[in-house]
């Protein structure tokens, strides 16, 4: 019944999914042992952190107005380090620590959101400051690695969740990531908050005039993004069982790349978390293939991602240009005046 998404954006989502399948198939053909449930599960395990921040990033990109959040990688580092320090130096219960970390993320994002929304500062600059601040605070706690030996953390980290006796397993981080993904999908598709985000991304001025709570929604989105980053930090601390100042460095860029490959545009209003999910999987599959290949430098992941990013941006551009053409031919069909005079004036 839901025919809501634009054909063009559905199309680009379809390309993303097909690309993932093609990559996975290519790996399976080329390398024995590649085609297994465990390889797929490992894909999820190794990328659950990235998935969580990509979900947050999707919200920020959809809301538009040059929306971006580059602080997330540093927030991950800060959360890992703070959790490790708290485990080491206080008797706090693991879940209390996690709760505190989420709160930390919420406050961090809320402040960024206030700056961006009410002081009308560029999201890039505000979150750049956030990036530096969080990374700096991490180093302030400790410049060395702190290992997490808290029992609950270790148990959670080592827990294998088997899938229907197939022998394949996932980790607890994957559960968190998938729950975040499903929740985010629901929020974006079926709640007023979610739809308001799309509306603001489509045309902020219109959204104001239609009486939508624009400012509140914007602050909430940035808060949400940092909360996702904090949650990703928890997932990452379970994955690494340590705090270190360089954790999660550059991960914000991977998140942006995955989200864009998943069909979310930087201009806002278009996209979704399902795309981000496949974007993350594509990123992971490339890494896995390079690992299986064995001799290539892991930096090749970046080169392939760069190429994909270019291709996808071009595809999105072409699609959006095509849909504009569509509008014009539609206008002629219904007998309304075409508005193509634009090309004339714009060239001058």
């Amino acid at each position: 019944m839901r025919k809501l998404k634009i054909n063009a954006s559905q199309f680009s989502l379809l390309i993303t999914i097909l690309l993932f399948i093609a990559l996975f198939a290519a790996g399976s053909v080329k390398y024995p042992n590649f085609f297994s449930l465990q390889v797929f599960c490992n894909l999820l395990i190794d990328n659950s952190t990235l998935l969580v921040i990509s979900v947050g990033m999707t919200f920020v990109l959809i809301i538009g107005g040059s929306g971006i959040d580059i602080s997330v990688g540093s927030v991950i580092a800060l959360v890992c380090m703070a959790s490790a320090w708290l485990c080491q130096n206080t008797g706090l219960d693991a879940f209390t620590i996690m709760g505190l970390m989420i709160l930390l993320g919420a406050v961090f994002g809320f402040v960024q959101g206030i700056f961006i929304t009410y002081l009308k500062m560029q999201p890039f600059i505000v979150t750049l400051a956030g990036l530096m601040l969080a990374r700096g605070l991490t180093a302030l706690i400790s410049e060395n690695t702190i290992t997490i030996s808290n029992k609950t953390y270790v148990t959670l980290a080592q827990a294998k969740i088997h899938i229907f006796g197939t022998g394949a397993y996932i980790r607890s981080g994957v559960i968190i990531a998938l729950v975040v993904l499903a929740t985010a999908w629901f929020v974006l598709s079926y709640t007023r908050f979610g739809r308001n985000i799309y509306a603001i991304g489509g045309n902020e001025q219109s959204a104001i005039l239609m009486g939508l709570p624009v400012n509140r929604t914007k602050v909430a989105v940035y808060t949400l993004s940092s909360m996702c980053a904090a949650l990703a930090g928890i997932v990452f601390s379970l994955y690494m069982l340590s705090g270190y100042v360089l954790h999660g460095q550059g991960m914000e860029m991977d998140a942006i790349a995955s989200t864009v490959i998943g069909g979310t545009t930087l201009t806002g209003g278009v996209g979704g978390v399902v795309g981000a999910f496949f974007g993350v999987l594509i990123n992971g599959t490339i890494k896995t293939i390079i690992m299986f290949q064995g001799t290539l430098s892991s930096w090749w992941t970046r080169i392939v991602m760069a190429a994909l990013l270019c291709i996808f941006i071009v595809i999105q551009r072409l699609l959006s240009m095509k849909s504009i053409e569509g509008v014009n031919s539609k206008k002629s069909n219904t007998g309304k005046l075409g508005k193509k005079t634009g090309s004339a004036a714009k060239q001058i």
Binding site: G202, P213, G326, L337, T341
Partner: protein, 504 residues
């Protein structure tokens, strides 16, 4: 519902923008079950008053009350929940959302804690059916034409159960049938006791549907009148604040003798598949050619061929006896052709540049980047044209976006006049402009023609076409079906041509 119940009362409203006193001590009273026209020239403060009412702008002084209770509206959100629903002049919807969602966003029906999409689509379909619009509501808004989008905006405003409905020039992109449907809806709402504020530039529409008129001028209240007590002529003179005999003055310049002059530009069997069928047309210097026909008859499409915005795929264009190929607008500019597009908001106005910069834009393009106009030259040109076209600005350095629509249009016009074109194509130059400026622009066009400029003038308003043009080409269904000259080009003959071909 009793006619005299005051629904909305605004008293002593003042609003100051930096350097401009937009509203000064304005009163406005809306009764339940009436359609109240808000009239005034561009810059009179209509839009500002409406934006104060709907909470887009805060007010500097004054009070508002709705149904006798004081209200403070600080945001469009508050206005909506207070029962004030608005259709703004420019379509204000989200292009990336579906039609249905645009109608219901912010007040989606919920089921089991989630948005009930099925219900939204169903209700949207019904809401549009009431406007006799049958479209796929699940499609994204920007796949539809501006007129459809405007109808969607109206459907949204009407569907919000409002006490006050504000329509700020909702009809400028609608065709006659759509306007009729809108009027039916308005009458229905009126009989339900809703108060409607209607802003328009079309006097006919005011007299067709409204009960009362409030006139503003220069941010001040001129008065509130019963429609029956304010004949059309009186209304115009109140709006302009002067006696208008300019309309009459225009009529004189109609006589024009084409005989014996060599055509400046000729189209021989020119056509473009899918947009306009083959036609022959010629223009001499000093001639004002009107392109007329119903919406979608191919007027703009025809004009675009003369500007190289679309390439012709049959026939040939001849300028001064030489065949030319216009592959792009720059070719046309080099052949001394200029084009003012229909949608000035999107296609002509560069709001964040100053008036001076906007004026010299096309000339600079023509001269190329190497041959830069000096600041002094720029200032001189800007000053000259501001004076010539009587553009109301505080200084040439004022940003274009802060000007009223009519003055923006004049700046665009100036931009092209500076390039000294021999053919000026004007696509709906007076749309959304008040009567006074309209007359000024019409006079200007005639004046320019008098100096030897050839003008191609596209307008949806027949009386305007008749007043300005000495040569009218009539289009229907993408064919040129007739040409009328001089005295023969009057409203009756044009309509006969459109309606029945050459029978007469």
């Amino acid at each position: 519902m009793e006619k005299s119940t005051v629904l909305l009362e605004m008293t002593g409203i003042s609003k100051v923008f930096p350097g401009v006193r937009a509203l000064q001590n304005v009163d406005f009273r809306l009764r339940a079950g009436e359609i109240h026209a808000l009239m005034g020239e561009n810059g009179a403060g209509k839009s500002t008053l409406i934006k104060v009412l709907t909470g887009v702008y805060g007010r500097d002084a004054g009070t508002m009350s709705l149904e006798g209770e004081q209200i403070t509206v600080k945001s469009p959100q508050e206005a909506q929940s207070a029962g004030i629903s608005t259709v703004y002049q420019e379509v204000n919807l989200c292009p990336n959302l579906s039609v249905a969602e645009n109608i219901y966003i912010g007040r989606e029906p919920m089921k089991f804690g989630r948005i009930d999409w099925r219900e939204i689509n169903k209700r949207a379909k019904d809401a549009l059916a009431r406007l006799e619009l049958d479209i796929d509501v699940t499609k994204v808004l920007n796949t539809y034409s501006v007129a459809v989008q405007q109808m969607v905006a109206i459907a949204r405003a009407v569907d919000i159960k409002a006490k006050v409905l504000v329509l700020d020039e909702p009809t400028s992109s609608l065709d006659e049938n759509e306007v009729e449907k809108l009027f039916e809806i308005m009458k229905k709402l009126k009989s339900n006791g809703i108060g409607i504020i209607f802003v328009t530039h079309f006097l006919d529409q005011v007299y067709q549907i409204c009960d009362r008129i409030t006139v503003l001028k220069n941010g001040e209240l001129i008065g509130e009148y019963e429609i029956s007590q304010l004949p059309r002529y009186e209304l115009v003179s109140r709006m302009l604040g002067k006696e208008v005999d300019e309309f009459a003055a225009l009529e004189n310049s109609k006589v024009f003798n084409k005989q014996g002059k060599k055509p400046f530009i000729e189209a021989k069997n020119v056509g473009r598949r899918g947009t306009i069928n083959c036609f022959n047309l010629s223009l001499v210097e000093g001639e004002v050619l009107g392109l007329t026909g119903l919406l979608g008859s191919g007027r703009t499409e025809m004009a675009r061929l003369f500007f190289g915005a679309d390439k012709i795929d049959s026939g040939e264009l001849v300028i001064d006896g030489n065949r030319v190929h216009l592959n792009s607008p720059i070719d046309a500019i080099n052949n001394e052709i200029a084009f003012c597009p229909e949608d000035r908001k999107q296609e002509g106005v560069i709001g964040d540049l100053s008036v001076r910069e906007n004026i010299i834009l096309a000339l600079q393009t023509k001269r190329g980047i190497a041959d830069r106009l000096t600041r002094k030259e720029q200032e001189k040109i800007a000053d000259d044209y501001i004076r010539l076209l009587n553009i109301k600005v505080s200084s040439p350095e004022q940003l274009l976006k802060n000007l009223s629509g009519g003055n923006q249009q004049k700046v665009i016009l100036a931009r092209w006049l500076v390039t000294r074109p021999r053919l000026l194509i004007l696509d709906e130059p007076t749309r959304g402009i008040d009567v006074g400026t309209k007359t000024e622009i019409q006079k200007l066009v005639l004046g320019l023609a008098g100096e030897g400029l050839a003008v191609m003038f596209i307008s949806s308003e027949l009386d305007e076409t008749v007043r300005c043009c000495n040569h009218v080409a009539v289009l229907r269904d993408r064919n040129m079906i007739g040409e009328l000259y001089g005295e023969n080009a009057n409203q009756t003959t044009i309509m006969q041509t459109i309606a029945g071909g050459a029978k007469q």
